[in-house]
Structures are given as C-alpha cells and as structure tokens.
Symmetry: C4
C-alpha cells in the first residue's frame, strides 16, 4: 500500500486527469462493492412458511426444495469471487488512472452490484429461457467491460508499468474474454435447451478456479 | 496513504478539535457508505411473479417491463459514482478536519445513504411529479452540502494545503454547484412536464462524466 | 496508519493475548459495521402504494406522511455518527488490545448493528411507550458498553499511551456517560408522556455535535 | 500494514500464482464480508404489526415475544465475531497466498455470508430439528473450511513465516476443529432433543471468548 504508491504518484502528475483518485483508492472502493454484492446474495434465500402442525413433515421438505436458491447462491458468489480475483490481478499492474478508465471501472462495478437481481431471477424460475438469458447477458456484459478496462489500460502500456511483459497482458486479455464468449454461447444454447445453459454456468467458474495449461503457455513457463 | 499523512499530522496539532479523525479515516468511512448505498440500489428491482403456466409468454414481457427500474438503477448508480469521484478529489486536497467539517461530511453522507429511497420512488411511479420532486430535491440537497463542505474547507485555505491554486478551488466550487442548480431547475420544469425533468436527470451525469471545456478553462490548461 | 503502528507493535509483544488484532484492524472492522448500520436505516422508509388513478392527489399526501420515518432516519443516522466519532477518538489513543477489550468492542458493535430495529419500531409506532423504551434502552446499553470499553482501556493507562493526560481520559468518560444517563431519564419520562422522550432524543445529539464548555473545561483550554 | 508487506513481497515472487493478491488485500476483503454478514442479521428481526387500538396492551407483548429473534441475533453475531477473530489471527501469520488458498478463503467467506439464512430459519422455527440441523451444519462446514485453510497454509510452513512455533500452529488447529466437532455433536443430539442442541449453540461461543487452559497449555506458558 505504501511502497507501491510512491512511484505511481510521480507518474501521476503528468497523466491523471482526476487527482486524488489513486488506483489504491479505486481498488479499495471496488473491493467494498464486490463484498456487498456477494453478501447481498443471501437475501434471495427466503425462510419457508410452514404451519406449526406440519413442522416435522413439511419443514424439512420445503428447506430441501430451496436447493435451486442454494445452487444459484453458490454459483453467483463464486462468479463474484472470480471477477474480484481478476480485478485485483489487473489493479496490481495498473499504476495510473484517467477519467475514462475510472468510468469504465464504475460501469463494471455497476454490473457486479447488479448480479443479485439475475441471481434472484434464476433461483426463482430456474431453467426458463428468460431467466437464463438475463443471467448470462449480465455476466457477458460484466466480462466485456472488464476486458475493455484491461485493453484500455494496457494498450501501449498506457496505464500499466512499462516493464509489464506482453505475455502477461495477453494472458489477462485471453482469460477475461473467455467468460463473455462462454456466456454468449450459453444464450445461444438456451434457444435449444435452457438446462444445458445452466450446465455451462457451472463449468465456466471451474475454468477460472483450476490452474490451467493456458496460464503456463501464455506465461512462458510451459516447457521449463 | 502513508506519505500524505505525515505532513498533515503536524498541522493537525494546532487545528483539529477532534483528534483521531484524520482525513484518511473520514475518507475511508465515506467510501464504505458510498459503496453500500450504490449496492443497495439493486434491491429496488424485484423479481416479477408469474404463474408456472405462463412462463414462456408472460415472464419475458414482465422482465422487459422492468426497464424503468433498470434505468433508475443506472441513473442513481452513476450519480453516486459522480459524488464519490467529487468527494475523493476534494479529500485529496483537504488535509485537516474540524468538528463542523466532520458534521458537514456526515450530513452529506446521510443524503448519499438516503438515495435508495427516492430511487425506489421514481422507479415505482416514474414521471409523476411527486416522485420527480423528491428525487431532484434529495440530489439538490446532497449537492449543496458538498458545495458547503468545499466552501468551508477552502475559504482562506482553512483546511486545505496552502499551495492549492485558486483555480482548482474555483473549479471544484463551480462544478459542484452546477448539479444542485440543474436539479432545482428540473423541479421547476416538473410543474409543466415531469417527463422533461427525467431527461434532465439523464443529462446531468453526462456533464460530469465527459471531460469539459470548463475543466480546461478553469484549470488554465486551455491554450497550452 | 503506518507511523502509528510502529511503536504499538513493540509494546504488543508483551501484552496482547490475540496476536494479529492490531487496533488499526479493529478500528477498520468497526468502521465497516458503523457504515453498514447507518446505510441499512434507509430500508425502513418504504415506498407508499398508491392506485394509478390517485397519483396526483394521494401520492404527495402519502409521501409527506412519511415524515416520522424520515425523522427517525435522520435521528438514528446522527446517533450512529456520534458513536462513530467517539469510537474513533478513543481508538486514536488506544494502542494495545487484549481479549476482553476485543469482546467489549464486538458487543458494542452488536448494539450499533442492532440500531436499525428500534429505529424501525419507533418510525412505525412513534411516541408509543414500548417503542420509546426499546429505542432508548438500546442506545443506553450501547453507551454503557462504550463507557466500559473506555474505562477498561484507560484505568492505569492499561491499553492507552502512557502520556495521555488524565483530563482527556476524564473528558472521554464524562462525555460518554451522559448519553446513557439521558436515555435512562427519557425512559423514566416515557411513563408520563412518551412524546417528551422523543424531544429528548433530538436534544441528546445536539449536545454532542455542538462544541461545549465541557470540552474546554475538562481539556483545560478554558481560560487560556 | 506497511512493515509487514515489505518482507512478504520478496517471498511472493517465487510462490504466488496470482500476483496482486497480497494477504493484506485478502484480509481486507474478508473483513468487509464479515462486517456485512454480521450487520445483515438485524433484518431478521421484523417490527410486529399491531392494530392502533391495541397499542398499549398488544405491542409490549409482541415485542417481548421477539426474544427468540433477539437470541439468535446475538448468537450469530458472536459466532461471526469468533470467526473474524480466528481469521485475523491466522492472517497475522499467513504471509503468502496461492490459488488454492485463495479459493479456500472465498469458500469460507461464502459460508460466513450464508449465516443470515440459518439464523433466520432458527429464529423463525426455534428448536425444530430441521432448523437446528441447518444451523449446526452451516457452522460445522464453516469451521471445517477454516481448519482446512489453516492446515493448508501451515503444513511444512508453506504459506506462513518459517519461525512460527509449532505449538502456535497446533493451537490454531485444535481450537478451530473444536467448533465443527461440537456442531456435529449438536446435530446428533437434535435427534433426541433439539432443545439441548440450542444449549450447545450458546456454550460453544463461551469456549472461544473465555481465555482457556488450552491456550496456556499449547502455548507453553503453563507453568512459567
């Protein structure tokens, strides 16, 4: 927090249009939005109403039937987690900010903070096409905005450190764009069978959580 | 965070009435309120209730009809974002605090945290005059409080660094006061046609997000 | 944040039972709870439901009738603000922590996070004795816990800096205990007339926000 | 925050798969989730609806009958507090992160953010077996994940400082595993009498809050 601010402040003088908005501050504000959006997801899981006379038979059954809510809670929490990780890795390299980058970031956060709604929709209606399309659409737009943010910050090393290797920039781009592509594909699939789209939703996070050959390949640590 | 605290602490001894409330802390607390108020906005968008037999026909229609909720979500999120940016730029320059400044800030945050209510009102009733007036009124008061905060902190360079150029102070004042003026104007317009007021609500953010000739003029980077 | 941690870490080795819980971290966690509790208050203000045919006549009337909700929102937001200021001033001086202090603080935060409930109660039922007693009772307990925290931390300069003047310790004690006393008094008053209690609720914050002769007297900056 | 980052950054180069995710950042994000989950608990306590004519007789009775909600609020708040303390003590020692540790932590936070649901369930249905099992089950899984996190970080001093004494590692392990064991036991007990399980829920926190002989024994400060 301290060491990393020193050098950036020097460079800021020339480039930053909005003084005072150090990338440290932007990252801290973004963290709060990520944390709240993730925690708000739990409000989708409502306590079932059961008559006092049916508690022993009906309550377990109704609680068990909350599994779609639980699944969508886990799914969305993990997705917010993935975006948080990606955002942090990017802001580890981004050292300067300007007005456009700032607003790309705020728009990206607007999508993150919106996630509780499509999550509620899909947990209420499940594999219905409308719900699937809204869910996948939100996540696709979120991913595209993150890709734009990274593209804008790295082209010509505009807002990142000069020494950042090109393969790290490329790895960030490729890994970030895969999610929106997958979500657009899942929208296409939903026209045939929305249930297959949901299988997609579960597979996309796995790609990001597991260490992948792609990482090693693009980072050039492949054959070593 | 570190470098900037060192010099301020020295000056604080003489002026700050409430020791322990460094401007860093005040900014961090404010950030949380901004982030939380923005994230709470999503709770206004309710999942529509549709009968199981009408899912394919009725659900898309009802989800589509949520567009006023979505529009007001985006509008308010962007406005919170604008105030966050303005607040941060100000607290980049504000180096000391006293009791009155502290309470001007808490009152300003009280307005920010209130924004979810007028947002819910306008997303429920749209271009009805009452909703428009409450929405514009809240944002006008919020802006006036920020203007007051800046005016109090900068008069005679009371709480800001001595070297802060006057044109930066003036830029802050002028840019901040434009929003409340626009909102008061939109209240006046609502007596003729509340729909025009909503067009205003969409235009005001654009003024803040786009880089303007005003910035260059007041910052004296005009002809260079 | 940096400069203040250096000296405290040295002293910590001997005294802190729970390593890793620097007072900086405790204060940051507390800040989040304060900010969330304050922002959650807005959820008490519900959008009124009005028939489409009655929008122009009924909606302004119903929105206007939300004034008790608005008043209790402001009242509770300001009270959370006061406790936040008091907590920060204390943690400016508290340099070490131990297990008991940690749990006094968590219990205090439990009361802060509870405030949205009595606020909802009083904004729903107004000057009904039950609501007044629950509201005043919560705030009295909150204040007593803060007083306990300060008493525990300062007796024999146990957890505060050795150089902290006794008059600062006394000022903290006296100012903190006044609120619970006032709230207990307002409970007593509610047996005669709950409306007078609410006047009390509005006056207590004023005492904390305005600079007082008490400050100058106890801080010894009276005649100088 | 500053001093502790310097040495860790050097070691990070070799080990951390996800650059930019310093343990400081992870801890800060976790803090927000803890604070928010704890503050959301208050939403379970609903204001009772009473007819205006029955205010003096019915309102006190109905508010008093909220005691199960209040009890579960306190219980869950204290449990979140305990996990926060444990998490902080662990991250005081954890100096590096890798992808698996990151996701163990996110999964752990997913359980913390889930706590408002079982709390709502148990405050609504009390000592009904389903509610008890869901509550104890959530807390057991949360505890197991924290144990896993600690085990993964400390085996062979993988992610912690090399000088960390083995007895501190063991103390962390033993203390963390006791909670899930107790909760599994309380699930077993619920088959006989769910009320006894709730007594368990109240006793477990006491074990963590009170300083114990176990601490002194495992820390080797026993006979000294």
């Amino acid at each position: 927090m301290c060491g990393s601010e020193e050098p950036s402040r020097v460079k800021l003088i020339g480039q930053m249009e909005t003084p005072g908005l150090s990338t440290t501050r932007i990252a801290a504000f973004s963290d709060s939005v990520f944390a709240f959006a993730a925690t708000l997801l739990v409000l989708n899981i409502k306590v079932p109403e059961v008559l006092p006379t049916q508690l022993t038979t009906e309550l377990p059954r109704q609680v068990f039937q909350l599994w779609p809510q639980l699944l969508s809670y886990i799914m969305s929490f993990v997705i917010v987690g993935i975006y948080w990780v990606a955002h942090h890795v990017m802001f580890h390299h981004i050292k300067r900010s300007d007005r456009l980058m700032l607003w790309l970031n705020i728009t990206f956060l607007m999508c993150i903070a919106f996630i509780p709604f499509p999550t509620a929709l899909i947990s209420r209606y499940g594999a219905v096409q409308t719900a699937v399309v809204v869910y996948a659409g939100t996540l696709a737009i979120t991913g595209v905005l993150l890709e734009l943010l990274w593209w804008y910050a790295t082209r010509g090393h505009y807002l990142v450190e000069r020494e950042l290797p090109d393969r790290v920039i490329r790895l960030g781009s490729v890994k970030t764009i895969i999610a929106p592509c997958a979500y657009v594909l899942s929208i296409a699939i939903s026209f045939f069978n929305p249930k297959f789209s949901i299988i997609f939703f579960v597979l996309v996070p796995a790609f990001y959580i597991l260490p992948s050959r792609l990482d090693r390949h693009l980072l050039g640590t492949d054959g070593k």
